[in-house]
Each structure stands twice: as C-alpha cells, then as structure tokens.
C-alpha cells in the first residue's frame, strides 16, 4: 500500500503533464501535491521499516524495501517535492513558454519515478534498467533553454553516462554468468537477495572483475573521479530544480547501486578488502579533484557542481571504511541532499536576478536579495562543513571512522582537502555577498513562500547538525547492518 502511494503519484503527475497542454498552473500545482503524497508515503515506509518489520516485500519478492531503500526514497521524494515547487509554471514571473514547462513537468516526474523504482526493486537487472532510464529522462530537461552550452552539456552527459552504464550492465552480466554457471538457471537469479545468499559459492576472480566493471559503470553516474567529467557541465547548465535533483539525489542513487553490489561481492570475497580499497581510492581521487577544481572556479553553479564531486568522494570513502564509515557515509548522503538541493535552488534565484553565472558578475548579493543572499550563505557554509550544520557531523564521523580503522593517511588527506575546499568556497562566497551592486540589477526582494521553504531546508540542515534525531540514526543503523553484515 505505501509502495503504491510512493510510485503512483510521479507517474500520474507525468501523465497529467502529457495530457493537459494549456493549463500549466494546474499541472504545476498538481505535481506539487502528488509529490507531497509521495513524500508522505516514503515517510510511512520509513516508519514501517523501523517499527513493524525489517523489510517490506511485495509481489513475490519483486519489490523489496529495507532500511537502505527507505532512506533513499525519503531523500528522493523530499528533493523532488522541492524541485516541483521551484519548477517553472507555478506563477507568471519566470521566462519559460508552455512547451518548455510541459517538457519540464513530464520528464522531471518521470525522472523521479525511475529513481524510486531503482531503489525499491529487488531485481538488480531492473535496477540497472531504471538507472539507465534516469539518464534519458534527465538529459531531456537539461537543454530547456536551448543554448550552445546546454546542448553540449547534455550531449556529453548522455553519451558518457550511457557508455558508463553499459559497462555496469557488463558487470551485472558477469556476476549473473558466474551465478548461472555455479547454481544453474533459477527464475529469480537476478534478485539481490538470491545473489547475496549464493555469493559465498561464487568465484573470487570473476566477482572482482564484475565489481570493477560495476564501480566504473555506476561510478560514472555517481560522478566519481576520473569519470566525473560530465558532471560540472550538466549540473551547471541544467535548470536549477533539475540541478538540485541531479546533484542532491541522483548521485546518491548511483552510490546506492554500488553499495548493493558491494554487499554481494564482499560476501563472495570473504574477508578481502578488495571493494573497500577500490572505493577508498576512487573516493580520495574524487575529493582531490573536487577540492582542487573549487579553487579555480569562476562560475558559481560549477562551483556547487564540483562541491558535489567532493562530497560524493567523501561518501565513497565512507563506504570503504567498514560499519563506522558506512554510517558516516549514509548520514553524509542525507545531509548533502538537503544542503545541495537548497544551494542549487538559491543559485537559480541568483541567476534569475543577475542573469550571469559568473562569480565576478555577482556582487552585493546581500543588498540586492537579502533573503536569498543570507540563505545562500547558510547553504554554502553548510556545504563547507562548518558546525552547527549536518555535514560537519558526518564529516567528523567520517574522519573518526578513518582513524579508528587505521586509515590515518586517508583521514589526513581528507581533512587537508576539505580545508582547501573550505578556504576556496569561503573566498568565492565572500566575493558574491559583498561589494557594489552591479548596474542594471534591481535591488530588493519580497519574502515569498519559496523563501520560507528554503529557510525550512536550512532549518533541517541545522537540526541534523545539532540533535541528530533518533529515528534517523536508528534507520541508518539498520542500513549499516545491511551494507556491512
């Protein structure tokens, strides 16, 4: 029942956008309401997973929601709701025509649906199909304003991610091949639970090869270096709500797929640290590239995109550090979803007012847009990992996990790079907030309902940093016991 309520609303919203051509306001608001229903359903799933049974299984094992899936659905539906509130067509102030609004509503909702199916299905083959489908649905929204830069960004995104994801499928086939040649053809052989239970009898070398393919494949979608080259372009050229979804949750969904496969491959490799080492290496490289690219950024949306590379690198490092690190990584994923979605939506508002994406072109933000400016400052400070925001807690836990598991050098490098990111982000932020107001930019801003929503995001990030609510820690604890049994 909650599963139907979770998956049906985005489907209905997408179909509604196809059916209703003229009334963009109706389509927009109904998609906000439907995504709200989805969010309630995912909260319901989370409470179900916490209080009643550990996993919710439907349709003969086809759908399976455990703590990990529930956590991801919560992030996805939350950020989708935000994106639909900030999407075009709700009021008359934005400069999109009806066809563009229609395209946005159809594909954003389809995008949300594919991500939700990817995290709730038990079949790793179907998971792959859905993650591939996220590329297609999201690529169509990036060039909403057809400019040279946005067409180029979406072509790059589409091609690199399709190729990457094809490699992930090769990895899936490899694992399936190994399963079939040891256990014979079984009807549910691609189910994650079946693979996990059969894993100890699988061949080590083959599973290592399979994991390498899978990490490169899904890692491309997750924006792990060196496969991250599409990410800064796509995230900076997409409309702001789309950037929020891609950066806030799509990267997380790809890491979810990696985590699922890590469980299977770890079971096959017994006590080896093969997967952890690969994740650590990819993670440290991503943090390195993310942080060092932040130093030279001239565009604030690209700055946020590179900060995503850095944060997803930290998540990958966390997944490679055993149970403590996995806890930190998942908490980091949630914190990042909140803070980054908020920051991208605010960046969209700044772009709308200043009509430039260059940091040098934006000055005096606090005077021009007092609300947006101060919230943007809060968002960037949260992304830097300053206390009292959530990301500080998860980064702290991550470093502690690295030291506790004897990876002192990882802790040292991560801390150093986080410091580099800290200094450069603060520097860029400083330039945007203060200084003279450029000519031709209107000064002053009314606090509308959107500002209240964004302030709500800031509050959530603050709460996650100060008290760390116990239902969330309990949910993540359950998740950790799934990922590192």
């Amino acid at each position: 029942m909650p599963l139907v309520l979770l998956l049906l609303p985005p489907l209905v919203a997408s179909l509604l956008a196809i059916a209703v051509r003229r009334d963009t306001r109706l389509v927009g608001w109904s998609s906000v309401v439907l995504n709200g229903i989805s969010l309630i359903a995912s909260t319901w799933l989370c409470t179900g997973v916490l209080w009643q049974e550990a996993t919710i299984i439907a349709r003969n094992d086809f759908w399976r929601v455990d703590a990990l899936s529930a956590l991801l659905t919560l992030c996805i539906t939350g950020v989708t709701l935000l994106a639909s509130m900030f999407g075009p067509g709700l009021d008359s102030t934005d400069h999109y025509d009806a066809a563009q609004i229609r395209r946005f509503r159809i594909f954003v909702n389809a995008f949300a649906l594919t991500m939700l199916i990817a995290v709730t299905t038990n079949n790793v083959g179907l998971m792959w199909v859905m993650i591939e489908a996220t590329t297609i649905t999201s690529a169509l929204v990036i060039p909403l304003h057809r400019t040279k830069a946005s067409v180029e960004a979406s072509w790059k995104y589409l091609l690199i991610c399709s190729v990457g994801i094809a490699l992930a499928f090769a990895g899936t086939v490899l694992a399936y091949f190994d399963f079939v040649s040891t256990a014979g053809q079984l009807p549910n052989a691609l189910n994650w639970t079946v693979l996990r239970d059969a894993a100890p009898s699988l061949h080590r070398e083959l599973m290592q090869l399979a994991f390498a393919f899978i990490l490169v494949g899904y890692g491309t979608k997750a924006g792990l270096a060196p496969m991250h080259t599409w990410l800064p372009d796509a995230h900076s050229e997409a409309p702001a709500p789309m950037s929020a979804m891609m950066s806030g949750v799509l990267l997380g969904v790809a890491m979810y797929a990696v985590a699922r496969w890590k469980v299977v491959v770890d079971a096959a490799l017994a006590s080896s640290s093969f997967t952890s080492n690969l994740l650590l290496a990819a993670g440290v490289l991503s943090v390195l590239i993310g942080a060092s690219s932040l130093v030279i950024q001239r565009h604030y949306k690209r700055m946020l995109a590179y900060s995503s590379v850095e944060h997803i690198g930290l998540v990958s490092v966390g997944l490679g550090l055993g149970p403590l690190g996995t806890f930190a990584a998942l908490l980091h994923l949630v914190n990042h979803a909140v803070a980054k979605a908020m920051a991208f939506l605010l960046a969209g508002r700044i772009l709308h007012r200043y009509e430039t994406t260059e940091i040098a072109g934006v000055s005096g933000l606090l005077r021009v847009m007092p609300w947006t400016g101060s919230l943007f400052a809060v968002g960037v400070l949260a992304l830097i990992g300053l206390p009292p925001f959530g990301l500080f807690v998860s980064e702290f836990l991550l470093v502690r996990a690295a030291i506790a598991t004897g990876h002192v050098w990882v802790a040292a490098v991560a801390l150093l790079l986080v410091l580099v990111a800290f200094v450069s982000l603060l520097n860029h932020l400083n330039r945007m907030l203060y200084g003279p107001v450029p000519q031709g930019v209107a000064v002053g801003e009314r606090a509308g309902w959107r500002v209240i929503v964004l302030a709500g995001c800031a509050a959530v990030s603050l709460v996650l940093g100060i008290v760390l609510p116990w239902p969330l820690t309990m949910l993540i604890d359950r998740t950790v016991s799934i990922v590192t049994p």
């Binding site: 060039p143 067409v151 180029e152 091609l159 052989a189 083959l206 090869l209 001239r298």
Partner: protein, 218 residues
Amino acid sequence: MDGVFAQLIVLGASGMLLTGLIVLWRRGVPAYITAYRWQSWLLSGLTAAVGYLGHEPQLYWIAALLFLLKGIALPLLMSATERRFGTHRELRPYVNTEVSLLIGGVLVLFAYVLTRPWMAVTELPTRGGLPIAMALLFISLFIIVSRKKAITQVIGFLMLENAVALLAVVGTYGVPLLVELGVFLDALMGFLVMQIFIYDIHETFETIDVEQLARLKH
C-alpha cells in the same frame, strides 16, 4: 553437435567483431550504418541459434525483436538522419586509420587476457564467444572516444549495446526476459533521445562535428 554449435558461435561472434572493425577503417557514415545493420543481423541469428541449440525458446522472441528493432528500424532511422545532414565523412578522426587498427588489435588481445579466469570456470559450449564479445565492447568504446561526428559516436554506442547483448547471450543464454525487455526499451529510448540531440546540435552549432563542442571548460 556441441562441436558444430561452438564453431557456429565463434563464427558469428567473429563476424560481429569484424563489422565493428569496419568502423575503424572506413570513413563514410553510410558504411558504418551498413556495418551496424549486418552486426545486428548476426546478433539476431546468434541469439536464435543459441535458443535452438540451448533449448531456450524465449530467445526466439528476443531474436525477432533484435532483428526488427536493431536490424531494420534503427538503421533506417539513422539513414534518414544521415540523408538530412548530407553525406558527412569522418575526414580527420582524432586517431588515424593505421593507429586505430593497431589499437583495435591490442584491444582484442587484452580482451582475451581479461577473460582467461572466466573461461576457466565454465563448460558452456558457447564460451568461445566470450572474449570476442569483450573485444567488441572495448572496440566500441574506442570508436566513441576516437571519432568526432555525433552520428559516429551514436553508432559506437549502439555497437556497445550489441556487445553487451552478445555477452549476455553467449555467457548466460540471455538474461531474464523482463530485464531484456527493459534493456531494449532503454536502447530504443536512448537512441531516440540521441537522435533528438543530433538535431539540436545541428541547429545550434550548424554542424554535427562534436569538435565544435568545446565551449565548456572549467
């Protein structure tokens, strides 16, 4: 019987690899489309053969779908795109023909090395096709990174899809039907979206040479 089966598989898979190599040494897009069509026909034939000799009747459906979609529909669509933009030729790829073929050879060798542990664990009569499928996979990747025209990159992507499908057929007698259908749908949608983007690129840049796409740097 198994001997003939094994030889048939290796023959068909090698044919597919050859059609992949054609893209490395021919320059005209029509030749690439023909190569892709032949490759898809071979893939469809192989799938049917594995279905018959491996007693997997569901593979007949997949073979028929492969033939209709990848053997007929996609090449026709691509020819239409090609005609619309005039005869485009890969005049100066990033890597020239001689070096391309050399790299192709190295990739085939690499595929054989990579699949050795894998060949050791299986007794399937179709296992001879595994390294060839891997080789086709690497060559398709190489096509995508070394060619400039958007349409050639799309062909490389489609050949990559074919390589993975070949891998699934010779390695496991096909993945479960539901997943297979999903993969089909994705391939079709992905292709159509790429087709849309080729038009977009053409309209905004007035060329489909992706070398022009170099605005986004840092």
